[in-house]
């Protein structure tokens, strides 16, 4: 069942002489896989907001001293934290894959004299940068470097 759109959507700046029926949203949105994927993409913003608070909490514990930091690390072993971090990881992967899929076509054919690389190469470069950054971060956090 279609829902009403904004009543002024696509309306002319001055109303015409004929009375019109208000605009409706597409009826297929609630059941459309594409549209649900788009909403899920947007919903990940909520996950990142919560993750942001979690990072602030971690910084606060770090500032308080070793005991608070150890307590925080211990709390991360609870199933709720594990579930949240798994959800956050899934969100990052989902957003990354969707963004990397859409990013290459958002590059203009030329910017002045400069041209972007071919789309498949650009796509591959994005994944290479992502994997490279992840490996580097894991190496730093794991104590392998620095």
């Amino acid at each position: 069942m279609a829902q009403p759109a904004n009543p002024h959507a696509m309306a002319p700046s001055r109303p015409g002489r004929t009375r019109t029926a208000p605009p409706m949203k597409p009826g297929n949105w609630p059941s459309s896989t594409r549209y649900r994927t788009y909403l899920a993409f947007d919903f990940t913003g909520v996950i990142y907001l919560l993750a942001g608070f979690a990072v602030l909490g971690a910084a606060r514990a770090f500032a308080k001293g070793p005991e608070a930091w150890s307590a925080l690390l211990a709390s991360y072993r609870s199933p709720l934290w594990l579930l949240f971090h798994a959800l956050a990881l899934a969100s990052v992967v989902f957003v990354g894959v969707r963004f990397f899929g859409l990013f290459p076509k958002a590059q203009p054919a030329r910017i002045g004299p400069a041209k972007p690389p071919p789309r498949p190469l650009l796509h591959a470069m994005l994944y290479a940068a992502w994997i490279g950054a992840t490996v580097l971060l894991c190496a730093i956090l794991g104590g392998a470097i620095l």
């Binding site: 759109a5 002319p12 597409p26 958002a106 203009p108």
Partner: protein
Amino acid sequence: MSDLKKKTFVVTRFDPDKDQVPKTQSYEIPCRPEWKVLDALNYIKDEVDGTLSHRWSCRMAVCGSCGMMVNGEPKLTCKTALSDYGDHVEIGPLANFPVIRDLVVELEGFMEKFKAVKPWIIRAKEAAPEEGPYRQTPEELAAFKQFSMCINCMLCYSACPVVAQEPDFLGPAAAALGHRYDMDSRDEGAEERNAVFRGDGTIFHCSYANECSEVCPKNVDPAAAINQAKLLAVLDWAKGFVVPRKGAK
């Protein structure tokens, strides 16, 4: 006649002189297997109910007149095969548009958005006719050709979640058309259009849902055009801090 199959069409009806809100009306008609959705509507109009109003013209996906919602999704009805649907087909006016009558929507708001992006070649100084046409290489043409294939069918506006919520949003087809001229090597009006693109309610409201490109019957890919235009508009804005704009004192 044995290849005729009956299908039920639930069509949105709205008479501005009688109805407060749109209603639906069902028609059961015999359909040929090769019919498009538009053929069924024309059959209803010609043989069953002459009061039904809908727009159509070329019947070959060129004029962009016959865009409607078919089972809740924006479609060009002359290009949409009935065989892709079951025995029950719902047809409504394009979503996100005010409805004038039955399946006919108000176009004036769309036309205003089109004019806003100055969809013509802008030159700082027009060349004299005796200097000949502005020439262009195939490579220069390729930079914008895809975006010039738009037939103004408005399906992209019907599919766009931002259009549904934000009346000021420029929308997919108009933004793609503006970007088409910005990418045209003969044009010198990118600065003017970028100012429009950066204005209130314009391309930066696009959240890249990509629905416009999914429903486009001509593979114009308006979502790509809008997001390319975003980048160029930002670069143009940044350039304004370094290079004085034309007309600036």
